[in-house]
């Protein structure tokens, strides 16, 4: 009994440390992952963001093979950092569709010229309405969608070089 009482404070402190350490490892989420992962893509039809690329509808995302949907904007700095990574994914055979939010055609065109153009279709979502319907809370954000239009994976923030294997794996599993 005495022994238990003696070491109890240390044990309680260990528990306290554990809680705080856990908090460090899993920081408070400042974004909420979309609850749509595992559900079908919301229905939408967006006009083309630039003349050089076709418009984007929800049907394009249920084309029979897995695709990557990238939500970006010309005014978004991390999207610039992400562009070469997307190029690499495209080089590996990934089909990347995009939604440009709150943007103007000339700015999107300039972005594509300056930073590269890995996209197939690009939809223009001027009011962010479709972005929200995806449960996306910011840019850049990407979704892996399978051939039937079911969202399989969500990547919040820019895709970095070290994330490529994860994205490829998600696409593989979405077959």
């Amino acid at each position: 009994m005495r022994k238990v009482l003696l070491w109890l404070p240390l044990a309680l402190f260990g528990l306290l440390l554990g809680v705080m350490g856990h908090g460090i490892l899993h920081p408070e989420q400042t974004t909420i992952p979309s609850k749509l992962v595992g559900t079908k893509v919301p229905q939408f039809e967006l006009p083309a963001a630039v003349p050089s690329h076709p418009a984007l509808t929800s049907r394009d995302l249920a084309s029979g093979k897995p695709v990557l949907l990238n939500i970006f904007a010309s005014w978004c700095l991390p999207c610039i950092a992400e562009a070469p990574v997307l190029e690499e994914l495209k080089a590996k055979g990934v089909t990347i569709h995009a939604i440009a939010i709150r943007d103007k055609p000339e700015d999107v065109a300039r972005f594509l010229t300056e930073h590269g153009d890995p996209y197939a279709n690009i939809g223009s979502d001027v009011s962010s309405r479709v972005q929200i319907s995806f449960g996306s809370s910011g840019v850049p954000e990407s979704f892996v969608i399978n051939g039937k239009g079911i969202i399989r994976h969500q990547h919040i923030g820019d895709i970095q070089a070290q994330d490529i294997p994860k994205i490829l794996k998600a696409l593989e599993e979405a077959r």
Binding site: L6, W7, P9, L10, F13, G14, L16, L17, V19, M20, G21, H22, G23, I24, H26, P27, E28, Q29, T30, I32
Partner: protein, 642 residues
Amino acid sequence: MIAELGLGLLWLAAGLAIIQSVLGMFGLWQTNRPDLGNAVRPVAVAQAVLIGMAFCCLIYLFIVSDMSVKLVAANSHSDKPMLYKVSGAWGNHEGSMLLWVAVLAMAGGGIALAERRVRRDTLIATLMAQGLLALGFYAFLLFSSNPFERLNPAPQDGQGLNPLLQDPGLAFHPPTLYFGYVGMSVAFSFAVGALITRDVGPAFARAMRPWVLGAWVMLTLGITAGSYWAYYELGWGGWWFWDPVENASLMPWLAATALLHSVTVLATRDALRAWTVMLSVVAFSMSMVGTFLVRSGVLTSVHAFAVDPQRGTFLLALMLIYIGGALALFALRVGTVREGAVFEPVSREAALVLNNLFLTVILGVVLIGTLYPIVAQGFGQQVSIGPPYFNPAAGSVALMLVVVMAAGPLMRWRSDSASKVLRRLAIPVAIGIVSLLVVRLLAPDMGVLPWLGLSTALLAGTGSIAPLWKRNLLQTPLFTWGMVVAHLGIAVALAGMAVDSAFYKERLVAVSEGETTEVGPFSVKLVSVEPVIGPNWTAIEATMEARRGDGRPFTLHPQARNYSTPPTDTSEAAITTHLDGQLYAVLGKQGKDGRWQLRLWWKPLVTFIWLGGFMIALGGLLALVGRVWRERRGARSAELAA
């Protein structure tokens, strides 16, 4: 140049901390080499001097706005008024960590210079512990948070201090809290030292007591000032939000309050030895937990410092070593500490035990509530824990504690009779019961907690003065006055909290210029709204004329203010203080119809809250001075007698 000098001094001080710890270890171990142990004292003093100089270097860099130093560039601006340039030195992570370690080292130096009563080996062990503590923070500073880092090329001007920190209250708030937190480290070091040398007794308690009292006074001041700052700066009329950072300062205070009562029992009655040691460790642990919560980003809050998980991890590691080490030492050694003096279930010692137990419960409730969101996240839940949890849980126990506070000083040491105690308490209890009924009759809608709180405050207020009855007031020792004032301060603060929360009046309206509105006993007229310019801000300012019944009118000038560096908007509330409360006015936005939103409060007796806080601190100060005086006199007459 000065930056390099500061960094050099920091390295030297760190080196001295190593020497202090090593000399201490060898001094304890090699008892045939007394010179080793004797050297610890001067080394501790030298360390304090060097780090003090390093901190002065940092302040100098801020005074001259040396933008080639990264910290100055990130946190200051040449347009800043001088007071805020200086306070900017500690208004950031690195600077405040440097302040922390400087206070830590200076406390060590202080012990080395002033402490004469405690056994030689205990003092060496204490200084060794203090040196080890400092080392962890030196490492933190030197390897991950260098305050003297250069920026090349140096920018034209700085990014400016956060305008919310440009405020006299907030300039002094961090230093007072740091003196408090770090003061707890002295208690911690003494506890570790006494455990090592198996010297837990009245001498150890007497040595520790002034440090605990001093640190506690600082914590009380820091919390009171912080509460008043939040009240007038955040514009919501509230004075405590149970925000994680507020809790980070409250938790050490709760532990320190328990500790300071326990230390007195050990010093005068040689009882509660194990409790005192444990509380010393707990109080400092809470200081470190508080520091961790504020800096690690684990919990978001309205006033967390720059968040960085890496810093958080470092602090966790330090805590593991220090607190874990101390608690292990406790488990191993406390068995060899002889039990203290025995006392009856009805006695002052018992009342103080009850006091400590209640404080522990409140501390536990606050700690769990503060950390719970982290636990919930682990299960994917996003929760927030706020006043609806804290107020009833902590408040109900606090009320019971305040009743014990009224009774305790009236009880005899060692053994007393319950009936005699009740007789001494007759008047305060009567006042409490009468006020319960009267308040209920006059204000039947009052919430339960404020109703009980006000009655308890009246009971405790009269009870706290009771020890002075039938005494020769001029012969009463200063430390007894201290106790009376501090306990009375608690009652005063509690009364303010109860009355304000139960009887405040709020008015939220949109008015045009020239229109009058009412709040509480005041009628307030919006005279005009004009743009104004300040030293580093522009604002829209309303001129409001208020009067109470037929009284003389007075003006209020609430503002909606914009700062440029960094771009921020604040709301500057206009507050006027009257004998029985405060009138609080906030300016909102202008609607499309030209009307201005106004939010007005009449807060009766709200000033009692901070008045009470200052009384508590004053009481502590009187007790501190009184004790030191008494012991000086005792030592001098012992010398004369020898």
